[in-house]
Amino acid sequence: MSKDFDIDQYLGIFLDEAEEQLQILDESLVLLEQERDNKNLLNQIFRAAHTLKGSSASMGFEKMAELTHVLESVLDDLRHGKLTVTTEIIDYLLNGLDALKVIKAEIISGESNGVEISSLINDLKKIKGKEDPPAFITETKKAVSAAESSPSELQIELDDVEMHVASAAKANGYNVWHTKVNLAPDCLMKGARAYIVFNNLKDKGEVIKTIPPIDEIEEERFEDSFEFVIVTKLSKDVLNSIIKSISDIAAVQIEAVQIGFIAEGISEGERVEGDGRISSDKVHGQAKVAQTVRVDVQRLENLMNLAGELVIDRTRLADVNGSLKTTLGADKTIETLEEVTVHLGRIVGELQEEIMKARMFPIDQVFNRFPRMVRDLAQKAGKEINFIVEGRETELDRTVIEEIGDPLIHLLRNAIDHGIEGPQERMRAGKPAIGTIKLRAFHQENQIVITVQDDGKGMDPAAIKVKAIDKGIITSDIASRLSERETLNLIFAPGFSTATVVSDVSGRGVGMDIVRNHIEKINGLVDIDSAWGKGTKFTIKLPLTLAINRSLLVYLGKQVFAFPLANVLEIINVDVGQIQQVQQRDVILVRGEVLPLFKLSDILPYPDDGIQRDKPPVVVVGISEKRLGFIVDELMGEQEIVIKSLGEFIGQVPGLAGATIMGDGEVALILDVRGLAGQAGV
C-alpha cells in the first residue's frame, strides 16, 4: 500500500457516502414495513447495504463491513423470497442499522464505544435460519480468485459513437481492448488506484469508455473492479503487464472488443450477485440526477459575505449618485452613472439571490429522519399512525435547516404521545383507528411555512386555563378575559409544560417554551390552531435566510441601531405627559392596553443625543406574547442589512445580535430584541 495518499481525504468522502446510504436504509426500511411486497424497494435497500459493505471494507472498517454483510445476506434472502418481510425482521434490520450509525459515530470520533455487534449478528443469522454465512472477507477473496482463475466472458455495450471510433481504430490497425481491472479487496484508495491505471495508460492509447463512467470512478463509486475500453497499438500482454505493475491490482482481464457485438453490460458491484438488471437500473437512475459539485460550506459563506459587501457598495454608490445629481444637476455623465448604478444594483441583487439559492438545501435533509422516529415512537406508545410528509423538496437556507430539526422533533413527539389517541379511544370517538400526522412544508411569499398537523384529541382551552392558573402563570382574573387563541398560546409559557402536567391536561407540551425559543431564535414564528376532539395544527413561519435581514433603523445620537423588522409590531409617537408609573416602571396605554416603555439608551446602555422630546418615537416590539416599547432618538428608515458578527474578541453582547455596515461606511449595531427584553428585566 502506498503511503503517498492521505486516508483522511478519503475518510470524508466515505463518511458522506455512508451517511447517504444509512439514510436510504433508514427511510426505505420504514417504508418497507408498509409496502412489504415492494420488490423495487427491497432492491434499493439491498443496494444501499451492498454499497456500504463495499466502501466500509475498502476503508478497513471491519466491524461495519461485517455487520453490513450479515444485513445484506438477510436482505438478499428477502429479495429472493427465501424470507418474508415481518415486523420482527424489520425490527432486527433497524437494530442493525442503529448499530451501524453508532459505529459510524465511532469512526468520526475516533474512539470506540465498544458496540457489541456479535449478538446482533447472531440475531440476524437466526432469522436467516441457516448455517453461518461465510465470513465476508473470505467471500470477497473467493470472488477475486474466481475472477482470476476462470475469467468469464467479458461483454460490453458500446454506443454508436464509441462503436464508430472503435471500428475506425480497428480499420487503422489499432487494437481495441476491453479491460477489466480487479483491485485488491483491501485496497484503500480505489479511486486513486484507478487514476494511476488511467494515468499510466494515458500516452499508450485512448480510453473510449469506462464502466462505471469516469466521474464515478474518480469519486470512487465502484466496488472492487472497473472496466474500460482502450484503443491502442499495445498488445494484450504488454497492456496486461503495464496494469499489473501497479500495486494493489488483484487481477486484470483483457479481451478484444467484438465490433458490432451488442450485449448486456456487466457492471460494478453486482457481479457477486450476478444480477445485471439491478446494475443497469442503477446506471439509468443516476443519469437522471442533475450534475452537482460538492462545495465547501465555508466557501459558500465567503461568497455570501462578498455578495453582502457588494450590496453595501451598491447602496453607497446610489448615495453618491444621488448627491452628485443634486449638486451638479442633469448632466450626461451623471445620467450614465445613474444607469450603471441601477444596472449594477440589479446584477448584485441577482448575484446575491443566486448565492443564497446555492446555500439552500431541500428540507428533506431534516424531514428524512422523521418517518423512522414516528414509527418507533408510535410503536412504543401502542398507537397506529399514518405519517404523511409533503413538500420535502422545499428549500431552506442551511443556517435555518440546522436549527429547525429540534423543534420539529418536539412537535412530532408531542403529537404522537399526547395528540393522537389510542386505537380504542379513537374508535369510541368515531374516528378511524389509525391516527394521521401530517408534516408539510411550502413557500409562502418570502417565508417558509412548516405545519405539523394531527387528527388527535386536540386541546381543551378550559383545561389549559386551569393548569396555567395552577402553575401561577396567569391569575384567574386574567384567565377569564383571554380569548381562545390567547389561551392556546399559554402552552408556550415557560413553566407551563412538564411531562406529567401535559398528559392530564389536554395533552401537549414537552418543553413547548423551548420549541418557541428555538423558532424565535431564527426569527421564526409559531402559531397553534386546535379544535377539541378534532386535532391540533402547529404552523411555523421561517425566514428564507438568516444572513440578510430587513430592519428598522433608528438613531441614538449619531449612532444607528437596527431593529429586525420581524420583531417590530409598530412605531408610535408617545406623548411624554401620558407616561404613567406602575411599580416604578414607565408604561403607557395604547388602545386600552398597557405597554411597558423603556429608553433604548438606558437598556443598552448607550449615550443618546440628550434632547428632551415631547413626543419621542417609540418602537413597539413583540416577543412571544409580550409587547414592549423602546424610546429612541429618531427614526431613520427601513433597509435590508447584512448581518455580521462582532467578532470573536468581543463575543456575545447582551442585547446585540451583531453589526452591519451602512451605505456611508459607518458601522450600525443590530439589536437582539429578546436580549434587550432580558436586560430590561421583562
Partner: protein
C-alpha cells in the same frame, strides 16, 4: 530558516515599533496586518472599558482596543500621529490604538533580554515578552497573545459588567 539567519550573523527579529505615552514598544511584524489612521469607531455597549468599539475595515467588522486603557497607562489625546495597528493573533483580528508608529526594526535576538521585574510605569511584566536594546533606547516587547488573551479578557468583561450593574 535557522540556517538563513546564521548566514546573516545572529538571528534577528523584525519589529513594528510604536509609542505609547513615554515608552517605546515593539511587536513582532508577522502579527501585524496593517497600520491605519484613526477613523470613526462605533462604541459597543457592555464591553470592557479598554474596548473602544468596532470599525469598518473594508467591509470587515474589527474590534479596536485602546492600549493605554488596556495597560492602565495615563490617557493621551488623539493626535494626527495616532494610529490603529491591526494585528491578527490566533485567528482573532484586533485593532490597537497607539500614539504613533515610528519604524520597523530588525533587532538581533541577542539584544533581547527577558523582562526585568517591574521595569516600566504600569505595564505588568506578564504582558511582556522581553526588552530589546536598540541604540540608546529600550524597546518593550509585548506578548500579544497575553495582551489579547480571551480568558483574561473574559474576567475583565465580567468585572466591568458587575460594575455597570452596581451603578
Amino acid at each position: 530558516m535557522d540556517q538563513e539567519k546564521n548566514l546573516v550573523g545572529a538571528a534577528e527579529e523584525q519589529l513594528v515599533v510604536f509609542q505609547l505615552g513615554n515608552e517605546t514598544y515593539g511587536i513582532e511584524i508577522s502579527a501585524v496586518h496593517e497600520i491605519i489612521r484613526m477613523q470613526s469607531i462605533t462604541k459597543v455597549p457592555r464591553t470592557p472599558s479598554f474596548v473602544e468599539g468596532v470599525i469598518n475595515l473594508r467591509g470587515r467588522i474589527v474590534p479596536v482596543i485602546d492600549l493605554h486603557k488596556r495597560f492602565e497607562l495615563p490617557l493621551e489625546e488623539e493626535t494626527p500621529h495616532s494610529r490603529i495597528i491591526v494585528v491578527e493573533v490566533k485567528g482573532v483580528t484586533v485593532g490597537m490604538i497607539v500614539d504613533s508608529v515610528s519604524e520597523v526594526l530588525r533587532i538581533p535576538q541577542n539584544k533581547i533580554e527577558p523582562p526585568p521585574p517591574a521595569i516600566t510605569g504600569g505595564i505588568e511584566t506578564e504582558y511582556l515578552r522581553g526588552v530589546g536594546k536598540w541604540k540608546e533606547e529600550l524597546i518593550i516587547l509585548l506578548d500579544l497573545e497575553k495582551v489579547l488573551d480571551k480568558s483574561e479578557y473574559k474576567i475583565l468583561e465580567q468585572h466591568s459588567q458587575e460594575l455597570a450593574a452596581t451603578k
